[in-house]
């Protein structure tokens, strides 16, 4: 039952990623074709654009949601692949622990960076 529930979350996280990563890819890599959300400079990674996006609550929100969804989707997907190789129960328990603690740690760090960047951008 637990795995069915986690699988449902995996699919739902995929749909969230589709929306927010689709937007992220369009901004960062279809910048000449679409030219969206890059008001300060033609290049999407220019500091002026980073600040302009970080100032908006929407981008801070979208980065944190995308971070959480992508970490869960990616690490749970990796766990599925790993478990299909038939590891023993000890390896499974260790993998669960490492992926959960590692994922939560990365989420806290990445969410802090998105929040701190937003706070910094609003002071500039």
């Amino acid at each position: 039952m637990r795995d069915q529930r986690l699988w449902t979350w995996h699919v739902l996280a995929g749909l969230v990623i589709l929306v927010f990563l689709g937007l992220h890819m369009a901004i960062m890599h279809l910048d000449v074709l679409l030219g969206i959300f890059n008001p300060g400079d033609p290049h999407p990674i220019a500091w002026a654009n980073v600040v302009a996006r970080a100032k908006t609550g929407f981008f801070t929100f979208s980065y944190i949601v995308l971070l959480g969804a992508a970490l869960f989707h990616g690490l749970y997907g990796f766990r599925n692949i790993l478990f299909e190789l038939g590891p023993g129960p000890g390896v499974k328990r260790a993998a669960n622990l490492v992926l959960t603690v590692g994922g939560l740690g990365l989420f806290v760090f990445g969410a802090w960076a998105a929040w701190a960047a937003g706070t910094l951008a609003r002071t500039l």
Binding site: L6, W7, V11, L30, L71, I81
Partner: protein
């Protein structure tokens, strides 16, 4: 993921990497996993590289300088292409999992038809869509820039 109920995966990694004669969709499954693993590796590094923006413009510039150059442009294009494939194929997998685009149950009368026959147009359609997104990305990455 369901636990393995006493049927050990004797083939190991080749159990999912090799598709044999299982058809086009089976190779999409392999590619979905490979692109997923590639995107995960990139994403974990991406968290650290882009978090430099929290420390100001100098830290951001230094971080971006470490990942610049033609090799990284090609690498980013590969990531973009992997995303395009993984995203549209993921939508296909969700549709199929929800029972859409797989046809209705029919009597098993020779010559047999399977749901794969019904799914094939969807698989081909999403691959065309992925190809168009990759082409748009290639245009932006290598020609317009």
């Amino acid at each position: 993921m369901l636990d393995n109920q006493g049927h050990p995966n004797r083939l190991g990694i080749w159990g999912w990497l090799g598709g044999g004669r299982w058809g086009f969709e089976r190779y999409l499954y392999t590619l979905h996993r490979l692109t997923g693993l590639g995107l995960l590796c990139y994403f974990l590094l991406h968290i650290f590289v882009t978090s430099a923006r929290a420390f100001g413009p100098e830290a951001w510039a230094a971080s971006m300088a470490r990942v610049s150059g033609p090799l990284f442009v090609v690498g980013e294009f590969l990531v973009f292409s992997a995303f395009a494939f993984h995203a549209v194929n993921g939508v296909r997998l969700v549709l199929v999992e929800l029972g859409w685009a797989i046809g209705k149950p029919i009597e098993p009368i020779y010559p047999y038809r399977t749901s794969v026959h019904e799914q094939r147009p969807l698989a081909l359609g999403v691959m065309v869509l992925a190809g168009l997104i990759v082409l748009a990305g290639g245009l932006d990455f290598f020609i317009l820039h």
